[in-house]
């Protein structure tokens, strides 16, 4: 079970994921924004797993966060969770599938999919994205996926098949690197394939290209 693997990882010393940190408590687990680690007594306490979903939905200004990896989670909250299953489910609301994706990659049941393959299978309004040039693709990914301000996922796919994302800073494709730059014992939040937001951005780039 994924929750058992998570428990093992916590025993191994992992205590962070993206902007989050978690800790064992006498009643289960605490989950909070890492920037609040020294001010937890002032945080608003939640007990429901579903509150995680609501917290992850808006940034501190109340603006909708469509990209879960964006480094703009609101602060000032603390979720008290009763057991490891609740922690796993809450983490999945903040960073969907982060733990299962990492485990699947290690087990060899999941593999990165290159950008070209993702774009070439698009249909409808996104079919046009297959016209994205390699140069456009490299610029787009470098800008739209960068960890400082855009997305905290670690990118494992390249533009073409069997190509590493060597156009990115090496830390951006290093699963052992804490993408927040804090050097914590962070569980990786991997990106195995371009998301729909990036595909939509690719569409805009192609549409705006000089003909």
């Amino acid at each position: 079970m994924i929750r058992d693997e998570l428990a093992r990882l916590i025993k191994d010393g992992y205590n962070a994921l993206g902007e989050l940190e978690f800790a064992e408590s006498s009643d289960g687990y605490l989950l909070y924004h890492s920037a609040d680690r020294n001010s937890l007594p002032e945080a608003r306490v939640h007990h429901s797993i579903e509150d995680a979903r609501q917290i992850a939905k808006y940034d501190s200004s109340g603006t909708y966060r469509p990209l879960k990896g964006a480094p703009d989670l609101p602060r000032g909250w603390l979720i008290e969770l009763t057991d490891i299953d609740a922690l796993k489910r809450a983490l999945d609301y903040f960073y969907p599938g982060a733990i299962s994706t990492w485990l699947a990659l290690q087990a060899g049941t999941a593999h990165p999919v290159c950008l070209r393959q993702t774009l070439n299978r698009q249909t409808g309004m996104y079919r046009v994205t297959r016209k994205l040039t390699d140069d456009q693709a490299r610029n787009l990914v470098t800008e739209a996926c960068r960890s400082d301000g855009r997305c905290l996922r670690t990118i494992l796919w390249g533009i073409e098949e069997n190509q590493p994302p060597d156009f990115l800073p090496s830390s951006k494709s290093d699963p052992t690197f804490d993408q927040t730059g804090q050097k914590r014992a962070a569980l990786p939040f991997l990106c195995l394939e371009a998301c729909n937001l990036l595909v939509a951005t690719a569409r805009t780039a192609v549409k705006n290209s000089p003909r």
């Binding site: 979903r53 939905k57 909708y64 969907p96 249909t123 409808g124 394939e193 998301c195 729909n196």
Partner: protein
């Protein structure tokens, strides 16, 4: 419904990168099904939100998986996008020791007609149906003709019941267009029910502009104090605009019925 306590359920919604309310009904119905304890695990997945269709099956731990599209009709998404992204072989896919059962979209459920009528009565409780045009509004798209057919068949079924003076359908992206409701309806009262899953970008923000009850798209439903100030008096008519049919709490039952219908249509074959 048969016991599914060893099975997993994946609800697939469209989601939105612009509107925070698009995914809300999918989560709402998933929460209700979790509360009832009918499945070992329940996950939501979205085309435009996370977890994406590409990652959700990695999250599922069981090996008997029902995938239910929380979509209002068969069409481009249920026939092309979802099967492609989940790499499905058809209604039943065997992969790595798992069996993935791809159900029909929730909008196909026979009880949608009753839900629409319930919604229409709810939004305009004191309005006599014999002086009312009921307008079922859908998306409609040139990408797939089934999108419009769904709203059409609901309107036809309600028309056959004969309770409303007039029942018609209208679409955002194909004729008859929603913006033409004034000439396509004849009664002093017009009740408009969106045949949509969520009070998202289309049904909450775009369609009110097409109807003329808003001059420009408003903020999202969840960011408004009042949902709607029905009725709207336009050109001597009273127009009532309901929230999307997919937000109806009974949709959790529709999802469970959809799984049940899949099992009846595709009985277990131990030789498969």
């Amino acid at each position: 419904m048969p016991n599914k306590s060893r099975s997993s359920l994946v609800l697939v919604g469209h989601g939105s990168t612009l509107n925070p309310d698009s995914s809300a009904p999918t989560f709402q119905h998933a929460d209700e099904i979790v509360r009832r304890g009918r499945f070992a695990e329940v996950y939501c997945s979205f085309w435009k939100e996370e977890p994406s269709l590409r990652e959700v099956l990695r999250m599922v731990e069981g090996d008997d998986i029902y995938v239910v599209p929380n979509f209002i009709s068969e069409g481009y998404f249920t026939e092309i996008v979802i099967p492609r992204e989940l790499e499905l072989a058809g209604p039943v896919t065997h992969r790595s020791g798992k069996i993935i059962k791809y159900c029909e979209p929730v909008g196909n459920d026979p009880r949608m007609v009753d839900l629409l009528l319930h919604r229409a009565r709810d939004v305009a409780p004191n309005v006599p149906p014999e002086e009312t045009s009921l307008l079922i509004v859908g998306h409609g798209t040139s990408l797939n003709e089934k999108s419009a057919e769904a709203a059409q068949s609901q309107a036809r079924a309600i028309r056959e019941k004969g309770s409303y003076a007039e029942v018609s359908e209208a679409y955002m992206e194909e004729a008859p267009f929603i913006a033409d409701w004034r000439k396509n309806t004849s009664q002093p009262n017009v009740v408009v029910v969106p045949f949509f899953i969520a009070d998202g970008l289309h049904s909450y923000q775009d369609i009110p502009v097409l109807l003329g009850i808003e001059s420009a798209p408003t903020a999202a439903a969840s960011q408004q104090e009042v949902f709607r100030r029905n009725p709207y008096h336009l050109d001597g008519r009273a127009l009532y605009y309901a929230s999307a049919i997919g937000t109806e709490p009974l949709m959790a039952d529709v999802i469970l019925d959809t799984v049940d219908r899949f099992d009846r249509k595709h009985p277990y074959d131990p030789a498969a």
